[in-house]
Amino acid sequence: MSRKELLVGALSRKRASFSKGWYKFSRNPLSVVGLIVLFSVILAAVIAPYITPYPEHAGAFTNFRESSLSPSLTHFFGTDTVGRDIFTRVIFGYRFSLVLAVVVLGLSTPPGVILGLIAGYYQRRRIEIAIMRITDIFLAVPPLVLALAITVMLSPNLFNQMMAISLMWWPWYCRLVYSITRSLRHEYFVREAELTGASKAHILLREILPNCIAPILTKITLDMGFVITVGASLSFIGLGVQPPRPGLGTMVADGAKRLPAEWWMAIFPALAIVIVILAFNLVGDGLRDMFAVEEV
């Protein structure tokens, strides 16, 4: 077979498995809704400057004549105490939240997965014990406290916030992959690979890891929501995105002081957080269905 034929064959197979995956995903209409919402949010965040009515409000801007306005056609979500359009700031705020989620999970997942694979495979040896005890230590510290401590030690900004949250996130992936690896370790197909003489790297990465991808991906989607919540919590207490930049948590904190009279300052950012977390969760559910392995 020529290279071109091989490529065409591979592509058509990928397309076939994709459409089958979509079928399973779309069995649950809520997941599709979640997916649509998620796409919209991401799209909005990416092209924020082009779709928001007042892009300059997402920074140092004051206009006291237009401050504390309730929601209207010119300001969908109203304005805050210094006159900035809340709708615009929410969309820009999404940017920070999403970047946070992506970076944190991108940083914490690979080390967690690799450590989990190693710990789960080499049983009854010092490596396993060492890795899992370290994991236990990290898991024992209340997460928010840990992130707090780290952020306070360094200066409070988005970057440090990301580092802090990453540090407390990797153990979960380590545990997840550890338990899957342990259960698969004695399956016949792993034995077979060992007996054939495959390298440990192959066994871990090519035999065991593909069986973990599904739960890992599902967990990542659900975690995105959690990370955003944690980020918002940290921002709420002032340890996240610093003013004048729009962080959703910071906005809720500022707006909370104005409840219940000027409710829009807190409610809309809070709603924005809820919507994006909900969307992630629904997509996570759909992914879990999509990955379910069926037998003939």
């Binding site: 077979m1 064959g9 197979r13 399956e187 016949y188 197909f189 792993v190 034995r191 077979e192 690979a193 060992e194 007996l195 054939t196 003489g197 495959a198 192959h202 090519r206 035999e207 593909p210 069986n211 991808i213 392995v293 069926e294 037998e295 003939v296």
Partner: protein, 320 residues
């Protein structure tokens, strides 16, 4: 392949599991040796030890004259190529996340059997050898094919490295009879054309009758009888063997007549943690004598090639 005094014990909190307790037998080149036993007999442990999944607790294993009583991680690569195994459960012996092409390529890659470009051809060849059209099957995943086909892939995988000795651990027990027939025929053909030697493990005596040249019966970790096939079925010695033979569901009156008559079926197999003293079968044996609960019999060769481990026969000939 020769096994001498092989022992494999597992040390657990509940006690020592004497899975394999002093087994000795040998398999000649080109023969099909049948290893028969029910659950707890230790047959799977023997298979796994021969292949190197376990290290023997005692005794030795010889292959082509060399001692190989080591775990696979300590075995030479050439040995890993030469001795292969087909596992019992087709569902778990193939990685559900790898395509058949990838599964078959692995042994080729590890042992550098063909160069990159030839590998594809070799995979196709292997599939054709087990009568699975390559175009249809190469890119499928294990979930998409049936149990019989999965086993054929497992067989193709075992043969990928050109072995000389293949251990087949109940390869057809989970399959229907018609699929079993196909696979057995395939295995017989392949043995001829590739000059293989098989250790065929099963609990199905009717199957053994038709394919094995010699039969070894195991009970609770010990060998209870060994004989060439025809002799074995015409003239079984051990009471356990007679019990096994009489439990076979027969399909015709002819077959019924071949089974031992008047055999009382009794009891269950004791746990290998709690092996009864003396002869491990005595609690169920209809011909039990006083000595059976005290002393464990040794194997005795009663007629040529036909040995038994039973006090009923220990007065004949010298122990082997």
């Amino acid at each position: 392949m020769t096994v001498e005094g092989l022992r494999k014990f597992f040390f657990t909190k509940q006690g020592t599991v004497r899975a394999v307790d002093n087994i000795s037998f040998s398999v000649k080149r080109g023969e099909i040796c049948g290893l028969v036993g029910e659950s707890g007999s230790g047959k799977t442990t023997v298979a796994h030890t021969l292949v190197g999944i376990y290290e023997p607790t005692g005794g030795r294993v010889f292959f082509k004259g060399q001692s190989i009583s080591r775990v696979f991680s300590q075995r030479a690569k050439s040995l890993k190529k030469d001795i292969r195994i087909v596992f019992q459960d087709p569902g778990s012996s193939l990685n559900p996340r790898r395509s058949i092409k990838q599964i078959l390529e692995l042994p080729l890659k590890v042992h550098r059997i063909s160069s990159n470009s030839d590998r594809m051809e070799r995979v196709k060849e292997l599939l054709r050898m087990v009568e699975l059209p390559p175009e249809d099957y190469m890119y499928k995943y294990p979930q998409a094919i049936g149990g019989g086909e999965k086993q054929m892939v497992a067989i193709a995988r075992a043969l990928a490295s050109n072995p000389s000795f293949v251990v087949l651990d109940e390869p057809t027990s989970a399959l229907d009879v018609s699929v079993q027939a196909k696979i057995i025929n395939l295995l017989m053909q392949l043995r001829q054309s590739l000059n293989l030697t098989y250790l065929f493990i099963t609990h199905d005596l009717s199957l053994m009758r038709n394919i094995a040249s010699r039969v070894v019966i195991m009970y609770l970790g010990k060998i209870s009888e060994v004989a060439p096939t025809v002799e074995f079925f015409q003239n079984p010695f051990h009471p356990y063997t007679k019990m096994l033979l009489s439990s076979i569901p027969a399909v015709s009156d002819e077959e019924e007549n071949l089974k031992p008559k008047e055999v009382i079926l009794r009891g269950e197999i004791p746990s290998p943690v709690n092996v009864p003293p003396g002869c491990s079968f005595h609690l169920r044996c209809p011909q039990k004598m006083d000595i059976c609960s005290r002393v464990d019999p040794t194997i005795v060769e009663v007629t040529k090639g036909h040995s038994v481990r039973c006090h009923l026969f220990s007065d004949r000939r010298e122990p082997t």
